[in-house]
Structure formats: C-alpha cells, structure tokens
C-alpha cells in the first residue's frame, strides 16, 4: 500500500453475546461468538472490503469497531487512541471522526424527523455549527450527495430507497469523519440504483479522502469498490489480500468456493466455469467446531484441521491466510 499509514487497527477483537436465562437473577448459559478474534489494519484512504455469508459476524465486527457494541476482549486503535478503554464524553467525542452507513435505508432514518433534522443531528450532537449555519450546511451536504436541497423539510417516507440511502450518506458525512463503515449499503437497493450509490461513495472518497470499511456479501461489487478484501467465516478472518490477488488466486478453500459460487452475467463464461459446491450449512456460532471453523464443510480437510486452529500466515505480498493446507 502506498503511504501505509494505519488509521484503524484491531487486535484479536472478540465480541461474544451472552445467552442468559432467568428473570431477576440472570445466569449466563452460553455465548454466541459473533466475532472471535479479528486482527486487521485499515490504512488511511483505502477501502477495505469485509465479505462473508450471513451470520459470519461481519456486521458485528463493523459495529464493534465503532464501539456500538463493546468488545468482549481485544483492542480497537483509531489513529493512535484505544477506543475500547474510552467511555462517556471522550468516546462520544471520537464518534465525530467515525461514522456508519446502514444497510436498510428504510429503518435507518427516523420516520418522524424531517430530512434537515436527520442530517443535522451530528452537528447538534457535537455542537459543530450554530443554529443559523445548520441550514446552509445541510443544504451543502444534500448537494454533495446529489439531492435537491429544496427537500430539507420533507420526511423520509417521501423518498425512494436510493434517495434515502443518499440521505444516510449525507448524515454520515455531516461531522466530517475520516472513517466510514459501510454496512451493506447497497444490498437493499435495486440493481439500477446500486451503481448510483457505489459511484457516489467512490466520488466522495476521492473528494474528501475518506477511509471505508465496506461490509458486503456481494463479491462482485466488493471487487469493484475495494482495494483490499478480507474474507470472514464464523467470526474469524480466513483470508486477506489485495483484491486482484484474492479474486484471481484465492488460497483458502472457503474463499475458492465463495468465488466460484458467484454467478457471472455472461453465459459464455458461465458454461466454462466449474462450481465448487459446498456441502451443508454454516455451523452455529454458539458451538463453533474445534480446530478450523471451516473444517466441517472443507473439501480438503485433514486430521489436523479438526483439532488445531490454523495460524494466520503471511504468504507474501500482503496476502494472509489461515489454513493448514495452503
């Protein structure tokens, strides 16, 4: 990576959700290991993709990095500051610098607020502008996401999904953040609208020098928008590399299966492609298999994989993989 300045760094980040029983005195009877030891660096100005199937913990990982969930253990270091030890006002203050764009453009905007109030919320929360300047700033933000500034007094339900997602983007940009977690920002949108939002995100990155963590299950879109991509399976990152390296030479058997499962909109290519069809379903994160989490579905698993967790290895060129076999 050019520049190579780390903006966000996680160190064996874990988030386990307790499963409890009892009415007044609650007993913990188990835990969902949504994120189970994630270590990665996000460089300033890059887009890091985090892909995986539903339930693999990618959304939880994003939210834990932003301290929307407090991690069970591990550290999140944002520009030199350990967020996991911050509380109250200092943490609230840090939130100004990191934001999130949500998956569901319908649920992520308060239906009882006008667009102006939605977008200006970060400004009010951090007292960034005077009440007078607020309107100007909101209009400027609307122009930035290419919405008509006349819309400020309308309500979210008057907008289409794509337009709402733009409003969500404007809100995320209001406090001039450096880092934005995009949590499946396009998966709820129509095919023809997805490209509009993706292009907008790319333009904004160029213009404002933003750093993105792009969480998605659409591998084609991730290849398009990201610089580096991490593949997650059952709470762990199994492979991470620069995108062309990862897509053209996937090493981990799960990554290989994932890549081959994505259909290509080209019948000529499709006829020639070999699919790796995985058996069965993703195991429950309450009781992940011992050893390599993927061992239960892995076509090349051997004895060792069922007992011993594979180490996180650097295979050169910034390509990391966690697998005994490759």
């Amino acid at each position: 990576m050019r520049g190579k300045k780390v903006l966000v760094k996680t160190e064996s980040l874990k988030k386990h959700f307790p499963i409890t029983r009892g009415i007044i005195f609650q007993q913990q009877v188990g835990s969902v290991r949504a994120v189970d030891g994630v270590t990665l660096n996000i460089y300033r100005g890059e887009t890091l993709g985090l892909v995986g199937e539903s339930g693999c913990g990618k959304t939880t990982a994003g939210r834990t990095i932003l301290q929307l969930y407090r991690p069970t253990s591990g550290r999140v270091i944002f520009d030199g500051t350990d967020l996991t030890i911050l509380k109250g006002e200092p943490l609230r203050d840090m939130r100004r610098r990191m934001q999130m764009i949500f998956q569901d453009p319908y649920a992520s905007l308060n239906p009882r607020m006008t667009i102006a109030r939605i977008i200006s919320e970060p400004l009010r929360a951090h007292k960034l502008t005077s009440a007078k300047e607020q309107v100007d700033r909101v209009q400027e933000l609307l122009r930035l996401v290419r919405l008509n500034p006349r819309f400020i007094n309308r309500y979210p339900h008057e907008f289409s999904g794509g337009q709402r997602q733009r409003i969500g983007v404007a809100r995320a940009l209001a406090s001039n953040p450096e880092f934005i977690v995009c949590d499946e920002p396009i998966s709820a949108l129509d095919v023809s609208i997805q490209a509009q939002i993706v292009n907008l995100l790319e333009d904004l990155q160029d213009k404002l020098g933003l750093t993105y963590m792009f969480i998605a299950h659409d591998l084609s879109m991730v290849r398009h928008i990201c610089d580096r991509v991490a593949v997650m399976y059952l709470g762990k990152i199994v492979e991470l590399a620069i995108k062309d390296e990862l897509y053209d030479h996937p090493l981990h058997p799960y990554t290989q299966a994932l890549m081959s499962a994505v259909p290509v909109p080209d019948p000529v290519v499709e006829r020639k492609r070999k699919r790796i069809i995985l058996e069965g379903d993703v195991p429950s994160p309450i009781n992940p298999p011992p050893g390599c989490h993927f061992s239960t579905r892995c076509p090349i698993a051997r004895e060792e994989c069922f007992h011993q967790e594979p180490p996180w290895r650097d295979v050169g060129g910034g390509h990391f993989v966690a697998c005994h076999e490759c």
Partner: protein, 328 residues
Amino acid sequence: MAPLLEVQDLTTRFYTLDGIVHAVNGISYTVEEGDTLGIVGESGCGKSVSVLSVMGLIPEPPGKIAAGQVLYKGQDLLQLDQKQMERIRGKEIAMVFQDPMTSLNPVLTIGHQIGESLIVHLGMGQKEARRQSVELLDMVGIPQAADRYSDYPHQFSGGMRQRAMIAMALACSPNIFIADEPTTALDVTIQAQIIDLVKTLRDQLGMAVIWITHDLGIIAGLAEKVLVMYAGFFIERGSVDDIYGDPRHPYTLALLKSVPRVDRTSKERLAVISGLPPDLLGLPPGCPFAPRCTYMVEQCRKENPCLEPIGFGHEIACWVDVTTGRER
C-alpha cells in the same frame, strides 16, 4: 403441436386507494416442454405478478386480471374456478417463492406438508405418502431425510427450507416449475447449491422451468431463453446468448453495464441508469424507459414500442437501433 404454456396478452391491474397500478401490461410468452425461461427485472417491474397471475394467486380485490389468456395444454386457466385451479396448481404447475418461511406452516412438520399434496393430488395413502416424502427430501439433498421428515420448519436452516419447498413443489412431478427469486434471501454458496439442484432435477425430470430474478448472473448460467421486463412490459426477448452477447434494448444494455463482475476488475466507474423506475400508478404515454434512456428520440415520448423481431428469436421493444443510435 400447441406449446405447453402459452400466455397471451396478460394484463393485471391493482385497484388501490391511490389509483390503478398497472402491474402487468399485455405480456405474451410461450413455454415448451423442457424449456428454461428466465424473467429478469428490478423489483416492482411486475415480474412476480406476471407469474402469480398465471397461477391464479392474485388477491382479488384489489387485483384483477384485466385481459389475456393463459393456455395450459390448450386450456385457459383464467376461465377455471378455484376448485379446478387447485387441481392444476401444485400438480401440473408448481411454484416456489422467495421467502420459504412464509410459505411453510410453522405448526406442521415438513414431512406432513410435503405428504399432504401427495395425498390430495395423487390420492396416496398415509404410508405411501410418507415413503414418497422421505424420498423427495432425499432427492433435494436433505441429509438423513428419514429423520428430518418429522422436523418443524424452524428446525431447518434457510437453505434447507428452500430445499423443502422445492421438494414440495416437485412432489407431484409438475410439468412446469416456477421459481420466484427462490435464492434472493440465501447466501451465495447456498444459492449455488439450489441452482445446481434445480438444474439437475430439470434434466432428470424433464420439466420446464420459469425462473424469475433480478440477478443477471443467475440467468446467464441457467436459462436458455430470457425475457427482460420493465414497468410491466417485456422490453427484450431472446436466447441467453443474444441477451448477454448482443443486448439491443437500451435498458438491457445499461443494466448489464451497471453490474460489476466477479471475474474481472474494471478501473472505471460503473455505468449508471439515471433516475428511478417509473411509478406504475400513472405511466406516461410513450416508452416507459424513455425518461431514463440515453438513446431517447422524439418518437419515444409519443408512442410505446411493441416487441418486434430483429433477429432469429430476438425481439426488442424500442424505436432506436442502439448499434447506430438512430431510429430503426
């Protein structure tokens, strides 16, 4: 010989408080035995309504099939009453939906639900139905089918539920299998499993498949004939190679350009289709795609083009030849 299914000029509208929704506007297509037909379109383009109309599953009111014929083996399905239609549905034509959870009854076991259609349609006895259900579950790749027979839907994962739905749809060996975005709610690896399964079963059982989706990728690897739908109209029809190799309607062209591909990296920005899909409440005169179309000419605002052949089996509804950019 008459085709297996012939849909002619099908028009479905919904009469709502806000006005009349023109969901499907005079579409026609035929399905031969063993065909695989893909219907592609964005949400709200009427692709689901078009097959629900065929199945007689449009809630009336507010819906109404305003015109058209659905000829199955020469018999117009739209003229049948509920009872007669129930005999066709599930037995001759079967359908799976996007969300398997809403189509499965949560308080009955999976096996019971599959067996029921065997008993109703084929008049099997309890024992026979049970044996057959287990066989079906096994066929769609549910491990330990005999044990899973008495599981309830919530004990199945999303992918397994969809498999169970397929088993249910296949119970009476239908001639036509309609799949309405059955993999949209599923992960890619599970989606690959399901598509693989349907392909295998299609070749084994020789049924015709109608697959509805918004995902251009799925259709490319599955269908032989493709229909592209926009605002309740078919705007392009052709073989899968025509549609993907030589798309001639500006919408198809733009749609294909706007999706990135997993097998290559492009440095450029994605192509964008500006604006929004039209509101089916009040379609303007002329081509419904005109306001978003980069090839638009004067004629497009005035009159809506009909599907016209431009090659063998390749038809488009457009006034413009996209290869030259001029009116045809």
